[in-house]
Each structure stands twice: as structure tokens, then as C-alpha cells.
């Protein structure tokens, strides 16, 4: 009896060892096949872009392309800033203060990803019920701070990583 048991154990060990090595080997082959689909070095190299913002008038905005996506750069008027800050956080589906969406001391500059957080369309400016942006695809309304107010989009429009190189230039990414 004990002899048989020993035989079975030895076999079990061999099976387990073979399956384990096989699984590791398979994983090592599959991972490169999956990872090759992630953004390549050429795509990653496009990660930063510098924009001259000196010619933007108050109340106007420009759209630039960063990583294949539009970035809205808006120089807001003081009324627009006041309007954005007067909103109660309880009225927001994705509560976020306007102050947290801009750089301190540069409150007039709203720099955000011009991509609707629902399914990725580009919202239209100066449209919608909240004096901000409106996405024509599925009807999401954003306010003057780019925060979602109404419609199917789950979150506010994203603020990318950016910094002021000098007072006339910003670097996105």
C-alpha cells in the first residue's frame, strides 16, 4: 500500500512541476504578444507639446492636438471664473472645486482634455445649458469649468499634466 502511495506522489509532483513550468513558459510567450499592442516608443515620444498662448483673448479658447487628442486652452473672463466658483459642490455629479482644476495664480487659464468622458467625442464650445461645452454625441453638458452637469458622462473633463514654462508658453504632458 505504502509503495503505491509513494508512486502516486512522485507522479503528482512531476505533473505539477510540468504544468507549472509549462504555464510560466506559455505566459512568457503570451505576454510579448499582448504587450506589443500597447503604445510603442514612437507614440510615447509624442508625450509632450509646448503651446504659445500669448495671442488668446479673454473669453476665447484654442484647441491644440496632444497625443492625438484635442486640448482646450481657454482664457476665462473674471465673470466666468466667478460663475464657475459660485456653483455649489452638491450640484455636481463629480464634485470638484474650480480652484482644483486650474493652476494657482493663473485662474483664468483652463487647460483640459477636450474629450467627453462618456465615449470620447469632442464637445462643442459655448453650447449646452451651463455656458460651457456640449457633447453632440450623447448629450452631455459641461460648465465653464469643464465639469459634467447633465447627461451620461460620468466624470468632469480631464485636466492633463501641464506647467507654465513662462507667462506666454505652457508645456502639456
Amino acid at each position: 500500500m505504502s509503495k503505491e502511495e509513494k508512486k502516486v506522489n512522485r507522479r503528482d509532483f512531476l505533473f505539477t512541476a510540468s504544468y507549472t513550468v509549462g504555464a510560466v513558459g506559455l505566459g512568457a510567450v503570451i505576454w510579448p504578444m499582448i504587450d506589443q499592442m500597447n503604445p510603442d516608443k514612437a507614440q510615447q515620444a509624442l508625450a509632450t507639446t509646448e503651446v504659445d498662448i500669448s495671442s488668446i483673448e479673454p473669453g476665447k479658447s484654442i484647441t491644440v492636438l496632444w497625443r492625438g487628442k484635442p486640448i482646450f486652452i481657454k482664457k476665462r473672463t473674471s465673470e466666468e471664473i466667478a460663475e464657475a466658483r459660485a456653483v455649489k459642490l452638491d450640484d455636481l455629479p463629480d464634485p470638484q472645486k474650480d480652484e482644483d482644476r486650474v493652476k494657482e495664480g493663473k485662474d483664468e487659464w483652463l487647460v483640459m482634455l477636450g474629450v467627453c468622458t462618456h465615449l470620447g467625442c469632442v464637445p462643442l464650445k459655448d453650447k449646452g445649458d451651463f455656458n460651457g461645452w456640449f457633447c453632440p454625441c450623447h448629450g452631455s453638458h459641461y460648465d465653464v469649468s469643464g465639469r459634467i452637469r447633465k447627461g451620461p458622462a460620468p466624470t468632469n473633463m480631464e485636466i492633463p499634466k501641464f506647467e507654465f514654462v513662462n507667462s506666454n508658453t505652457i508645456k502639456i504632458g
Partner: protein, 419 residues
């Protein structure tokens, strides 16, 4: 099933057939006993095979002239339309062929729903068929992206963004699908690769679909099993082949009508504008065959909820054989279910209509009502009606009501009328 063993006549044929029984397979397909009461709704299997082969042949030809690069794709499609000999014809066959493929597959699926072809013992045929349908949608979506027009680009953006609704890993998955930080050249390149692959996967599944069909044999309009093969069936060739061929000819006339007279009526004019990542078209509309699901997606005021519901609308069909509790297959003998069947048809058509309209006002209300009924039909109506319904008497066999009139002429007439 014909059980007689096939023996090739010539010695050479016998030698080959002993080594690879292709001739036996051919004989099986020729003699395959088919219910003699199949109506024209049963010709769409053959029509769909024709559609698949048409798409593969025209697609291979188009790939000889198309360039899968974001800067060149749009121009290369115009090159096909203007410069390549008969390029316009081949492209119009391919683009309208996709629509004809879906038209045929929807008729084929609703045929199954009406006559209960998905029920035991044909569940596996049904499930393989749904897998084919899923792959068809993937192939059609990726194919629509290849011309790299505005609808291509924004359709791809919206559909790939569906995956960003997945909690935690959604954004990583979307970036992985794109191979970039937005829909871009890497996306176009891989879509072309996959668009070329999928039809061959479908072809493999079609073989399994037919194989699985040939195990129990065809369902039929009265939905009962074959009692006596000699009385209830006819050989596939020439009886079914000639019927299929006639239906296929009628289908090809309609197909040719689209190709030659209104080749762009099923497409969207915005796709003749080159892709522009800075401007979204005012109304993004998928191809007509995806509209019901698009309406379901938009009817939910929550991103993840909409995505879940849209995918559920397809995946619920996989468990349909187990949701339907009725022992009677054909709706011909199911007076209550039959009415719900037609409500479902109208419901899906209505969802398709509102999917093409802006998601606001009355359209949004209709989309929500339609979505609720769609799910109720499968989750509530099918199990409950199956239990409660008093079905009409079913005939003794396929031939009895037709040939002898049977013991109860009244039943026979009833069957005769409906079929």
C-alpha cells in the same frame, strides 16, 4: 440521416476515399435527408454562405489596392473608386455586401426564434450561430473603420471607449486596443489585420455550425421530429439545392439593386470626409445593423450601465434555449407566444429607428420602453408563456396532415393554414 455506406464506383476513387473519405462526405451532403416541408425562410443559410464567400473574395481583391495607414487609407479608397479597374464595383459589392449579410442573418435569427430552432437538441447550433453573429459585428465594425473617414474615426472612438467604462482597468484596456493615446495609425493597422482574420474564423465556425446541424438534422415549420425518413424527408440535392438557388437569385437581384442603383444609401455621407481628430460630426450613427444595440446603449443615463445593458442584449440570447420553457418548438402551434414574437420584431425595429434619431425627447422615451420590453421578452415572457400557454394540437408527423389528412382532419387543416 442516411445510414447506407457509400462506396465509390471507380477503383481510383475508392483508393482515395479509403485514405480521406471526402467522397463519403460529399455523398452525405448530397443525400442529406431534409424535411420536405421547409419553407423559404429556410433558404437563408445558403444565402448567408454566399454572403460570406462574396465578402471574402471581394475583400481579398480590395486588400490588393488598399493601404492601411492613417495618412494614405482615405486616398487609397478613393484610388480604388476612381483608378482601379472595376474598383468601384468591387468596393460597392463589399460595402453593400456587409448590409446584405446582416439583412440575411437577422431573417435567419428571427426564423429560428419563430420556429423554435434554438431548442433541444439544437442548442449548440444556436450558440455557434451567435458566435458567428458576434464575429460578424466585430468584422463589420473594423471594416467600417478602414476607409478612415469621419464616421470611421468617430465610430471607432465611441466603440473603443465603451471599454473605458470597465472599472479600474478600463483606460488601460482602451489604450491597449488603440496602441496609442487615441484612435490613430496603430489602431487602423491592427483593425485591418483583424478585419482580414475574422472572416476565416467565421468560415471555421460555419463548418461547425453545419456539422452541428447535420447531427440532429433540420428543424422544420411544424417543429416536430422526423418520424419516417422515407415519408417526411427529401434528399438535399436536388430538392433543397434548387429551392436555395431560386431564393439566392431573388436575393442577388435585391443585392444588385443596391450595388448599381443606390450604393451609398445604407452608408453615411460623412464618411466621405477624411478623418479629423479635432471635429466630431454632429450626429454619430453606426451602420443600420447595429442601431438597436446603440439605442439600448443610449437609453441608460449611466455610462457603465449602458455598456452592460448593451452587451447583455446580445449575451442573453446565448441562454435563450434555457429561458424558453415550452416543449412545443414551432410558434405555429403557440397562439400566445406567436403574438409576443411579433411584438419583439416590432420592438427591435423600433429600437433600430430610435437608434438613428437624436437621443432626446420622445426618442429617448421610446428607446427606454423598447429596451425594457426587449429584456422582459426574454427574461419574463419566454419562461412564463412557456408554462402557462395552452398550445394548439401538433400534427402526428410532417407528412400526415398533408398526405392522409390524419385521424383528425380539423387539426390537419389548422396546420395546413398556418404553414
Amino acid at each position: 440521416m442516411s445510414e447506407h455506406e457509400y462506396v465509390p464506383k471507380s477503383k481510383a476513387a475508392k483508393w482515395f476515399n479509403d485514405r480521406l473519405p471526402l467522397l463519403t462526405l460529399g455523398a452525405h451532403l448530397t443525400d442529406y435527408p431534409t424535411p420536405k416541408n421547409l419553407n423559404y425562410w429556410w433558404t437563408f443559410g445558403g444565402i448567408l454562405t454566399f454572403c460570406l464567400i462574396t465578402q471574402i473574395v471581394t475583400g481579398i481583391v480590395l486588400a490588393m489596392h488598399y493601404v492601411a495607414h492613417a495618412d494614405l487609407a482615405f486616398a487609397s479608397v478613393e484610388h480604388i473608386m476612381r483608378d482601379v479597374n472595376y474598383g468601384w464595383l468591387i468596393r460597392y459589392i463589399h460595402s453593400n455586401g456587409a448590409s446584405m449579410f446582416f439583412l440575411a442573418v437577422y431573417i435567419h435569427i428571427f426564423r429560428s426564434l419563430f420556429y423554435g430552432s434554438y431548442k433541444s437538441p439544437r442548442e449548440v447550433i444556436w450558440i455557434i450561430g451567435l458566435m458567428i453573429y458576434l464575429l460578424m459585428m466585430a468584422a463589420a465594425f473594423m471594416g467600417y473603420v478602414l476607409p478612415w473617414g469621419q464616421m470611421s474615426f468617430w465610430g471607432a472612438t465611441v466603440i473603443t471607449n465603451l471599454f473605458s467604462a470597465i472599472p479600474l482597468v478600463g483606460d488601460s484596456i482602451t489604450t491597449w486596443l488603440w496602441g496609442a493615446y487615441s484612435v490613430d495609425n496603430p489602431t487602423l493597422n491592427r483593425f485591418f489585420s483583424l478585419h482580414y482574420l475574422i472572416p476565416f474564423l467565421i468560415l471555421g465556425l460555419v463548418v461547425l455550425h453545419i456539422w452541428a446541424l447535420h447531427v440532429p438534422g433540420n428543424n422544420n415549420p411544424v417543429g416536430i421530429d422526423i418520424k419516417k425518413p422515407s415519408k417526411d424527408t427529401v434528399p438535399f440535392h436536388p430538392y433543397i439545392t434548387i429551392k436555395d438557388a431560386f431564393a439566392l437569385l431573388v436575393f442577388m437581384i435585391i443585392f444588385a439593386g443596391f450595388v448599381f442603383f443606390t450604393p451609398n444609401v445604407l452608408g453615411h455621407s460623412d464618411n466621405y470626409i477624411p478623418a479629423n481628430p479635432l471635429v466630431t460630426p454632429a450626429h454619430i450613427v453606426p451602420e443600420w445593423y447595429l442601431l438597436p444595440f446603440y439605442a439600448i446603449l443610449r437609453s441608460v443615463p449611466d455610462k457603465l450601465g449602458g455598456v452592460i445593458l448593451m452587451f447583455s442584449a446580445i449575451f442573453i440570447l446565448f441562454v435563450l434555449p434555457w429561458l424558453d420553457t415550452s416543449k412545443v418548438r414551432s410558434a405555429v402551434f403557440r397562439p400566445i407566444y406567436r403574438q409576443f414574437f411579433w411584438i419583439l420584431v416590432i420592438d427591435v425595429l423600433m429600437l433600430g429607428y430610435v437608434g438613428a434619431m437624436p437621443a432626446e425627447g420622445v426618442y429617448l422615451v421610446l428607446a427606454r420602453v423598447g429596451t425594457i420590453y426587449y429584456f422582459l421578452h426574454f427574461i419574463v415572457v419566454m419562461p412564463v408563456v412557456g408554462y402557462l400557454e395552452k398550445t394548439d394540437p401538433i400534427p402526428m408527423s410532417i407528412s400526415e396532415p398533408v398526405l392522409s389528412g390524419g385521424a383528425e382532419p380539423s387539426i390537419a387543416r389548422k396546420v395546413d393554414d398556418k404553414v
